[in-house]
């Protein structure tokens, strides 16, 4: 589709819908050493599966609140909506994410330390 450029330090994992994204995936990615995690879904009302993203939104709201509670930097995990036709928006948001994460530096909190 669109060939708008965005930073190359992001890897995409395909899921059927944002509703599929279990918090396990996010936390495991951070434990695995990824410096940040982005979950992107269709805008509310536009979910291909009607309300998968609404189910997910509650889940992510809670997860984000809890990450804050535990003192994880708020920008480590990002949730966003971006539809298939919004190449521009996706690229802009990804640029913003990478900028945020660069500012935070490496993900140290999830490192295995005794």
């Amino acid at each position: 589709m669109s060939r708008i450029q965005y930073p190359s330090n992001i890897r995409i994992v395909r899921v059927p819908c944002s509703g599929r994204v279990n918090p396990f995936f996010i936390i495991k990615s951070l434990l695995r050493g990824w410096d940040g995690v982005v979950v992107s879904g269709c805008h509310p009302g536009d979910c291909h599966y009607v309300s998968g993203n609404l189910v997910a939104r509650r889940r992510f709201a809670i997860l984000q609140d809890l990450l804050n509670l535990f003192g994880i930097e708020p920008d480590r995990v990002t949730f966003m909506w971006s539809s298939a036709s919004e190449g521009d928006r996706f690229a802009n948001l990804i640029k913003k994410v990478t900028k945020n994460i660069k500012r935070l530096g490496p993900n140290k909190k999830f490192e295995s330390t005794w």
Binding site: P23, F24, R59, A61, L66, L69, G71, F79, K96, S112
Partner: protein, 336 residues
């Protein structure tokens, strides 16, 4: 009324109701508390004879959430023919909340129980007492007037009750179980309205992420992952807890801090909108970790985001069991 007298009244209420329910064959058994064998403990007890009713007690050490004993994973109380027994369950507010929430999650059938509502007057915080007493061994602990009396070798100390209460009891607004027609007897709350400003959270909330990280780290660092909190929690009724799952193994089981806090983080995730604030987890923790901060934020998230308080209304769906187009999404990233 002083705490000592309140306790006597509550105990009397329990025994009277238990006797009546058993006599009138409203229930087959009563599930309640009895005296523990070591100080600072109480034990759950099942009573099926009117004569035994006086074994039932109430004191400020009855921290166990008895609802736990009714979830399917725990062996069900049956008669000789293998039929489920009808249970009368001694219920402070948080036990009532747990029962209601468990029924929303299809774990118990409210029709099959009788809630014996009592006006809980608070649970003593063991950690606070131990901090005061130090290493010395305690033989006996009792309430006299509005004071806690602690006896041990070379030790007799009087502590003001109010200062040694669980923090959560101070913010608790559901001291008696919410009333449900035909299910509740005793003292219950008609249509409780929860108004909570969560002012106890303000100080923590104003910390920077780094300060929060340090604070929580200090709190959880000593966790040995004995899972006592999980075992005592009425909402932890999974067949196989996520930490024990294999294929794949999502979470490590070591006591590296990353494994510890991700366990508590995901456990909190699973408790959001479900925790009933009984504090059994903190009371039971052998390392004295107080999970109240986490549990309070769970209540706060549920209330402030989704206007939901668990275990109040048997008809209301908890946040994760519902969705709404109009939910707030201020946490979602937007373009600059």
């Amino acid at each position: 009324m002083v705490i000592e007298d309140q306790n006597k009244d509550i105990e009397q209420l329990i025994r009277d109701l238990a006797r009546k329910l058993l006599k009138e064959k409203e229930v087959d058994v009563i599930l309640g508390y009895t005296k523990g064998t070591i100080p600072l403990t109480s034990l759950p007890i099942v009573i099926d004879k009117v004569e035994d009713v006086d074994k039932l007690i109430w004191n400020n050490l009855c921290y166990i959430n008895l609802a736990k004993y009714l979830v399917p994973r725990i062996p069900t109380l049956m008669n000789e023919e293998g039929q489920k027994l009808k249970v009368g369950i001694v219920s402070k507010g948080c036990i009532g909340r747990a029962l209601i929430h468990l029924s929303v999650e299809h774990q118990i059938d409210l029709e099959n129980i009788k809630i014996i509502g009592i006006p809980c007057n608070g649970i003593i915080n063991r950690k606070k007492i131990e901090d005061e007493i130090g290493e010395r061994e305690i033989f006996e602990i009792s309430v006299s007037g509005d004071n806690i009396i602690i006896k041990g070798e070379d030790l007799e100390q009087t502590l003001p009750f109010n200062e040694y209460l669980n923090d959560l009891c101070k913010t608790c607004q559901v001291k008696s179980p919410p009333s449900i027609e035909n299910i509740c007897v005793g003292e219950c709350l008609e249509n409780p309205v929860i108004e909570d400003d969560f002012s106890d959270m303000t100080e923590f909330d104003s910390k920077t992420p780094e300060e929060k990280w340090e604070y929580i780290k200090n709190l959880l660092d000593t966790c040995t992952r004995c899972y006592a909190c999980r075992e005592v929690c009425p909402m932890c009724y999974c067949n196989l807890c996520f930490v024990d799952q294999n294929q794949p193994v999502w979470f490590g089981k070591t006591t590296a801090y990353s494994d510890i806090f991700t366990f508590h983080l995901i456990r909190a995730m699973h408790m959001a909108g479900r925790c009933v604030g009984c504090g059994a987890c903190s009371s039971v923790c052998p390392m004295g970790i107080d999970l109240n901060l986490i549990n309070r934020s769970l209540e706060k998230i549920a209330k402030e985001r989704f206007n939901f308080t668990s275990g109040i209304d048997p008809e209301a769906l908890p946040p994760m069991m519902a969705f709404d187009m109009e939910d707030d999404q201020e946490f979602m990233m937007e373009e600059d």
